[in-house]
């Protein structure tokens, strides 16, 4: 395999860190499945599940996708745009509750 000249030195996640992140991802998934069977209010369930999913997504992006070790400007270019657009999508979410209350 030809060597590719990187602008930074050869990198890669250490095996230990890889397995640790993987173990955490499995553990958080287990917690989510457990929570699904608890009789919680829908709002609470949604907040907890989405919170856990965001943590899992963060772990994958930071470690598996290597964002933690990239230039901060790359993170600043990618992530805030994503957050802003998803927030814009969410702005209309309360309208669904209005629709629900309008139904006979």
């Amino acid at each position: 395999m030809s060597a590719h000249s990187e602008t930074h030195e050869a990198h890669g996640l250490s095996a230990r860190l890889t397995f640790t992140v993987w173990a955490w991802l499995l553990a958080l998934t287990g917690i989510e499945v457990f929570l699904a069977y608890e009789k919680l209010a829908l709002h609470l369930m949604l907040v907890l599940l989405m919170g856990l999913s965001l943590v899992k997504a963060g772990l994958i992006m930071a470690y598996f996708m290597h964002l933690k070790f990239e230039k901060k400007t790359l993170v600043l270019t990618l992530i805030p745009a994503l957050v802003i657009v998803v927030s814009t999508l969410s702005v209309f979410f309360p309208d669904s509750i209005r629709l629900l209350n309008m139904k006979p």
Binding site: A36, K56, E70, L74, L82
Partner: protein, 210 residues
């Protein structure tokens, strides 16, 4: 061509020959694609959430067996395939060609296992009468949103497996570099990332409670 002192002083990164963010073009391109694809899935999931909240008596038909058990196992398969993908990227940076191919094959196996389990689970639902436009439990939107979201995700898994196969062949032949493997890895992790949201929103929030 020799540059004068003034030219040297006014030369900047914007004059070219420098990689923005210190990443290669392939990698930056893949990241930009990932952001756009993430927005596609966000729009779908937001649309589903909106429809669900606005609809009284949304069905919650997923039994522990097979639906929740299968989908949890599928989550395990995808998370483990992300693990093997990281190991593949590590091997490629070590110039370990055989190791890279091995770990990519392991990643493909995880993806295939995911698809087989998913198709089996789909089959169960289809046999219970769920289609894109109707189901025995209430609003037709249930089938539309379920198959729409999980279908688009499964399509990404499928194309991801094909992508991995292409990279594995290229690496085996000595034509592809560590960068190719890394960029492929980014796509695969993205597929896993989307599932991190699809699984709780579609499955865990529709658990059949007795």
């Amino acid at each position: 061509m020799a540059s004068s002192r003034v030219e040297e002083l006014t030369m900047s990164e914007w004059d070219g020959g420098v990689l923005p963010y210190s990443v290669g073009h392939k990698k930056l391109g893949m990241w930009l694609f990932i952001v756009s694809d993430a927005l596609t899935f966000s729009a779908l999931l937001m649309g589903y959430s909106y429809l669900r909240v606005a609809t009284p008596h949304w069905p919650t038909p997923f039994h522990l067996w097979p639906s929740i058990a299968f989908s949890t196992l599928m989550t395990f398969c995808l998370l483990s395939s992300s693990l093997t993908m990281v190991l593949a990227v590590n091997a490629s940076f070590r110039q370990d060609r055989a190791g890279t191919v091995r770990w990519i094959l392991a990643t493909m196996l995880g993806g295939l296992a995911f698809m087989i389990l998913h198709l089996k689970e789909w089959n169960t639902l289809i046999h219970e009468g769920v289609t894109l436009v109707s189901n025995p439990w209430g609003t037709p939107l249930f089938g539309a949103t379920f198959f729409g979201i999980t279908g688009l995700h499964m399509f990404h898994v499928f194309t991801g497996v094909l992508y991995l196969a292409g990279i594995a062949i290229g690496v085996a032949k000595g034509r592809f570099t560590a960068e190719h493997v890394e960029v492929c890895g980014l796509y695969w992790h993205f597929v896993d990332l989307v599932w991190m949201f699809v699984f709780p929103l579609v499955y865990l929030l529709s658990v059949q409670m007795h």
